[in-house]
């Protein structure tokens, strides 16, 4: 047998890779039950008001059209905590893109034609959809996303800031951003014999099941949700989205299977976005860089449907020691689509602003930015006073500096010229919390030597099947090739979503516990295994959700080298390097892939990505992949991802921290700081597109 002890951490290729590249892996709308119909939503073209009239006669007259559901004819839904799912329940239009009808037809072309033939008029009301002019109306919510208190105050931060000998008082802005996973949100729904079978593009099908059961008044046992392969989500598939509700309504109404896939343009208004954030940072320090005051105030927007507050000031509660601090969130409810989770909600925009401001302070002090961070390394989590379960931020910074060649850096900005180009380097810290949720799992040892892991995990492109097989192999002491992983269906033991960088920790904990229990059973077992094998199960409720006595976070450091064309304002990233302290890395190959993917997304956040709201209509405009610029291959330079060995016994049985999101955190700040080092100009609004940079030079 292979070396069992080394299953964890080994750079094993993802198991479904071949199925994906050969097209064998099926995604939610690639299932076509017999008699399947197609649905296409009709979405509102105004930002606020009510449907005044809705005429479906022309649509119904088209060939192959089965029906058009409207707020009058659609099934009534049960209650849900998530108001974004209460579609077609009344005539109200809370934002541009809100579904007002759904056309159902024998073909997707006919469904779309019918949707376009629906005549809708609106009684509009005045609307406000652009954050900026209305920040005076912003209120302080009770909580920001993640259950964090909106405001935290320690000591007397304003007074300490005013008295500090060195001060930075700066404002940063991050625009709306779109998740834009490769696979658009889609679902195939089949009502049959009183049962609901749903193929959904989701990061967590157990939640989809419970929400659909509530909305349609069904016992959960009568609902099966399958998310076998998912083409990315970046948070936008973390909760059920309106497409699956509309598809289920259409299937219930027609008694036939129905398939519905959102178009790229519909995605931006129906699946969430990262809300824009405006940041005011005040950092006050002594002459040696010791922070006396950290003040991070965030203003953001939410919709009128549901409050979602990007928790962008929360990382400042974790990062640096300071004599006093204030971290605060305010939110304006606008007539916009509802914002939601996008990779590293809170940390990505918050650390962009904080780490940019720290760089500004380093410049003001004439101190190396790594040294400044090291001088303010806290012994305990500044906000809570809890000890860290492990924290190796400074080690990441030092290791990154060594690999990047930071020691040779001349700190003077604007002096490295290559023709029209100025070059520079920058650094920023990264952090992401350790999250974990209870999960169930079973592991079965079969007589033929096969071990089968069953857990309703979701693979959103991370390699979940592979890493869970490694966890089981390690705990069982068997070869990883003898382990099969079954995931992606509510028919399997219940498990939490792939989100919050918590999937592997949550599922893996249960898989580990079940594997250990099975190993114990196998040890006691004598004779051949029964034909069905031996099965052990685990439920980590009571352990995984136990409140920790420690502050648990992953940390990292990002380094960037950029070149800026002074004639045109074009910024090109030449090199990106990340070093992470994330507990035990469970699969070196798939972990590297996630780190690099996060860094590429951070590069897009820094340089190219910008959601734009059309003020007149309240629509996200130009938001398909031609207009919303994610990095192209030519934008992405040599990227390195490394990690340091970190042992942490206060996490989970594998000793791992989540790695799916930390790669984006800090990347934009490192690039922005490098642009300052290159040009001597501090740009404080993302993205750093040629219009802004050229204008500022």
């Amino acid at each position: 047998m292979a070396s069992h002890a080394n299953a964890l951490g080994a750079p094993i290729e993802r198991r479904e890779g071949r199925a994906k590249v050969t097209g064998e892996a099926l995604y939610a709308t690639e299932y076509t039950p017999p008699g399947c119909l197609y649905a296409w939503p009709v979405t509102a073209t105004v930002a606020r008001g009510r449907i005044a009239s809705l005429d479906i006669a022309d649509a119904l007259a088209l060939p192959d059209v089965v029906d058009v559901l409207t707020p009058e004819s659609a099934p009534r839904l049960g209650t849900s905590d998530d108001a974004t799912l209460a579609v077609l329940q009344d005539a109200k239009v809370p934002h541009h893109g809100w579904p007002v009808a759904v056309a159902i037809a024998d073909t997707i072309e006919a469904a779309r034609a019918a949707a376009e033939a629906v005549r809708v008029t609106y009684a509009t009301e005045p609307h406000e959809s652009v954050l900026g002019d209305n920040t005076a109306d912003a209120y302080r919510p009770e909580e920001a996303n993640g259950g964090h208190p909106a405001e935290r105050r320690r000591g007397e931060p304003e007074e300490a800031f005013a008295a500090a000998p060195v001060r930075v008082d700066v404002r940063y802005r991050v625009p709306p951003l779109h998740n834009h996973p490769m696979e658009p949100h889609g679902a195939t729904v089949n009502w049959h014999d009183g049962r609901l079978t749903v193929y959904d593009s989701s990061q967590g099908s157990d939640t989809v099941r419970s929400v659909l059961a509530d909305l349609f008044g069904l016992p959960e046992e009568q609902v099966t949700v399958i998310s076998e392969h998912v083409g990315g989500g970046f948070g936008s598939k973390g909760t059920p989205r309106p497409h699956v509700v509309l598809a289920a309504m259409a299937s219930l109404h027609t008694g036939r299977p129905v398939k519905l896939a959102l178009s790229r343009r519909q995605l931006t208004e129906l699946v969430g976005h990262r809300a824009p954030t405006e940041h005011r940072l005040r950092l006050g320090s002594d002459a040696d860089g010791t922070l006396a005051s950290v003040i991070h105030e965030v203003t953001t927007h939410t919709s009128r449907v549901k409050e979602f507050v990007e928790q962008a000031a929360v990382p400042a509660r974790v990062m640096y020691a300071s004599g006093s601090s204030l971290t605060d969130h305010k939110v304006a409810a606008l007539d916009v689509p509802t914002p939601s989770w996008m990779r590293a909600p809170g940390e990505a925009p918050g650390m962009y602003a904080l780490e940019s401001a720290v760089d500004e302070l380093a410049c003001a002090l004439g101190l190396d930015p790594i040294e400044l961070r090291a001088r303010n390394e806290p012994g305990r989590e500044p906000d809570s006073g809890l000890p860290f379960s492990s924290r190796h931020l400074v080690e990441c910074l030092r290791e990154g500096a060594r690999r990047f060649g930071w020691a040779d850096r001349d700190p003077r900005p604007g002096i490295r010229r290559e023709g029209a180009w100025l070059t520079g380097t920058g650094v920023a810290s990264a952090t992401y919390p350790v999250l974990v949720s209870p999960s169930r799992a079973t592991v079965t040892a079969h007589p033929d030597g096969l071990h089968v892991v069953r857990v309703n995990a979701t693979d959103i492109g991370t390699g979940a099947r592979t890493v869970l097989a490694q966890v089981a192999a390690d705990a069982l002491g068997v070869g990883v090739e003898s382990v099969r992983t079954e995931i992606g269906s509510t028919g399997l033991p219940q498990a939490p979503l792939a989100g919050g960088s918590s999937g592997t920790a949550s599922w893996g904990w249960a898989v580990h516990d079940a594997s250990r229990a099975l190993a114990g059973q196998l040890q006691c077992h004598t004779g051949p295994l029964p034909p069905d094998g031996l099965t052990a199960s685990a439920d980590t409720k009571g352990s995984a959700d136990q409140k920790s006595a420690y502050a648990r976070h992953a940390f990292g450091a990002h380094f960037a080298q950029v070149a800026v064309d002074t004639g045109t304002g074009e910024v090109r990233v030449r090199r990106l390097l990340g070093v992470y302290a994330v507990g035990r890395v469970l699969n070196a190959r798939t972990a590297t892939s996630q780190f690099i993917g996060g860094m590429v997304m951070g590069l897009g956040m820094a340089l190219t990505e910008r959601g734009s709201v059309d003020p007149a209509s309240g629509a996200f405009i130009g938001s398909d992949l031609a207009g919303y610029h994610v990095p192209a291959h030519a934008d992405v330079p040599a990227i390195e991802a490394h990690w340091i060995e970190e042992r942490d016994d206060h996490l989970n049985p594998m000793g791992s921290k989540g790695i799916g999101e930390i790669g984006i955190v800090g990347t934009a700040a490192a690039i922005g700081n490098a642009v300052h080092h290159a040009t001597g100009v501090r740009f404080r609004e993302l993205p750093l597109t040629p219009d802004r940079v050229h204008g500022g030079l």
């Binding site: 006919a110 034609a113 045109t568 003020p615 629509a619 405009i621 610029h629 030519a634 219009d691 050229h694």
Partner: protein, 328 residues
Amino acid sequence: MKPVSYLRAGSVEEAASAHGGRTEARYLGGGTNLVDLMKLGVERPEVLVDITRLPLDDVREQPDGSVRVGATVRNSDLAAHPLIRERYPVVSQAVLSGASGQLRNMATTGGNLLQRTRCAYFQDLAKACNKRVPGSGCAAIEGVNHDHAVLGHSPHCVATNPSDLCVALAAVDAVVELAGPGGGRTVPATEFHRLPGDQPELDTVIRPGELITAVLLPALPHGAVSHYRKVRERASYAFALASVAAVLQLEDGEIRHAGVAFGGLAHRPWRARRTEAALLGTRPSPESVARAVEAELAEAVPLRDNAYKVTLARDLATQVLGSLSTTA
């Protein structure tokens, strides 16, 4: 769903006859723009006449030293052709700075000339657009107009022409060869695209049923140098915020020929005649080049979100012309 009839034409005559000048007919080249617009519902043709098999797919030198580029030559083949790379680097560079490798493999020369604006309001059926629905208004004028025109726009339309190739064609005095029901004719590339005026639905002067058969590239003056430079929001696969195509010929340090055109600034490639006039006969210095460029851009009228284009185009053109004048 709208049924579409499809015919693959074997000859120019067959194509013209199948099209017949009908408003519901479209010639189909690589389809890289037309098919996108059909998916969006912006274009709803009933007849597609596939012209990609017409015998118009070669690049050939003419007896007078000019080069004739057939209308169905793919963008990739055009950019890579030795005659183009050696004699018209500006054309090759312009083509290679557009779209992606896959799109360039499909897109044709004629189709490149006829691509529509990428104005997001033009592409969105729910928004007012005089180009898409004449008389419906222009949502871009007061909307997100970061990418829109600063030169030659009208109260009816502020869209830009998205082509890179056409900017280079304008700078080299290319000529568009057309076949039509009334016979053949030629139109200078600089006059092929229109300004929007009060008829923004018309991008070009092409007449109903006319087919582009070739683009003629006249021989550049002996010793002329040329260059295309584009600024965009990512390193590839994005439309120009601003671009410049320039051809310069110097003799004894004096500019004897100048062809300069801007992309991304107007409803058509913007031939910078004022800049050219200011350059001709001068010994270029950084100051004289900058003044010449300013002369063209003085008439720019930026919109709310795109004042940056004027200074960006100015600096870009100054940089390109400055660098060309030292190599010429």
